[in-house]
Symmetry: D2
Subunit: 138 residues, 4 copies
């Protein structure tokens, strides 16, 4: 049975203070856009970080990647496309694509793990399994 592809798209614009002296978005700021993509995904697909927190979990980021193809400049309007990457491991994996007027600006990836009281959780927490079932991912 084919898996569901879970994705969200949000339009953002470049803010002045995100640009550097080269007149382009400073490379580390793309992780802010990915965060906005991730939050947008969570809202649209009802995956709430506050729920996670209530259940005593934290989901720290353990890996980030970004590959740049074209720069964004001040005033540019762009789309962050956030895709959930299914995995059996106790990890939350997202891939990102930033697109401006049909041009690929960059791609990225983040991996989050689950911790409880500061300790790594090696099995998928029940609420995460439930969410994946509800979303037809497993």
């Amino acid at each position: 049975m084919p898996q569901q592809i879970l994705q969200s798209k949000i339009d953002l614009s470049v803010r002045f203070h995100e640009c550097d002296p080269l007149q382009i978005v400073w490379h580390g700021n793309y992780f802010k856009y990915f965060e906005e993509g991730r939050e947008d995904f969570s809202r649209k697909h009802r995956f709430s970080y506050l729920d996670v927190k209530e259940k005593g979990y934290a989901t720290p980021i353990v890996k980030t990647e970004c590959e740049h193809f074209l720069p964004l400049k001040y005033g540019d309007v762009f789309t962050v496309e956030t895709t959930f990457v299914p995995s059996r491991a106790a990890k939350i994996i997202f891939e990102y694509r930033i697109i401006k007027s049909n041009e690929l600006i960059c791609t990225g990836k983040t991996i989050q793990v689950f911790t409880q009281n500061g300790k790594l959780v090696l099995v998928n927490p029940p609420f995460f399994q439930d969410w994946k079932k509800k979303m037809d991912l497993i």
Copy 2:
């Protein structure tokens, strides 16, 4: 009896990502430098925020100001001069001067109050009075 002037000075340098497309430090980033000045002051005059926290207090900032005379650019080395402003009110007031090669770059001010469990504390907490006595400020 003349009051003691409590001050600290720290040398910092401008980082690339703090500069904007005008090739100068983005105005909001000066509050990062003031924060580094405040922390430097606290270290040198043994006014510890961790102590504050242990005693159940928080010291949120309620007012910030910055007046700019000359811009800082990428690579500039400068001094943040942080001065404690004595006050009878239950407030922590600091004034800042940023200087580069004898030129005044900007001046600033922050006001912090004391809160306990999220509520404003209107009298000076004992540990703050003790610190002021030890520092010959009262």
Copy 3:
């Protein structure tokens, strides 16, 4: 004849990376919101910074202020209200109010001047006078 009050309002939400260990928006980040307010004002009232730049001017910020009444937290949705403050001086003055559910979060102010080739311009540039006339401000 009563002057026109020029204002704009934009709704924003607090991003995770804008919050500090006290679980509230870090005080220096409010100047990012004011910048978004200023850009929103400029768009709505056709005061373009790109035009300014094309005409050889820059408009560096020479003064910033912010007074805080209540904190913003992660996920909060709020309104930035940006008001143009008329002045005869060669300055661009904005006042800001951030409001969340009818509660005043903070107020702020920024003052910008005009420079040309890095030098302060003491008279109002023609394009700024034209804009003020068009907006019924003078």
Copy 4:
């Protein structure tokens, strides 16, 4: 003939505004530390970005990576170890390790390319070859 390993080490400390509501350094801020490592490397091994600029080149970042093992917290003092990764391609590759009290906090990597007038340069610029020769890298 064994190649020279070019490296630099700089001690930094975590600033309050770099921490997030989880009380740890926000993941995107590690790229600021890598940038400080890169600048430190450049100073120590006389690889100047201003020289690069003077010669009409820019060196935009095209790839970033960070893998996290332990979090940094407010007040932590740590070392950024920056290592130049030799490559025949017209690329500047750095690897980073952040270490605190003998514990590995994270590792990272950045790749920069050369552009001239906004266009990708596919051969190593003469000044880069000269620098590599001087450093015994080729």
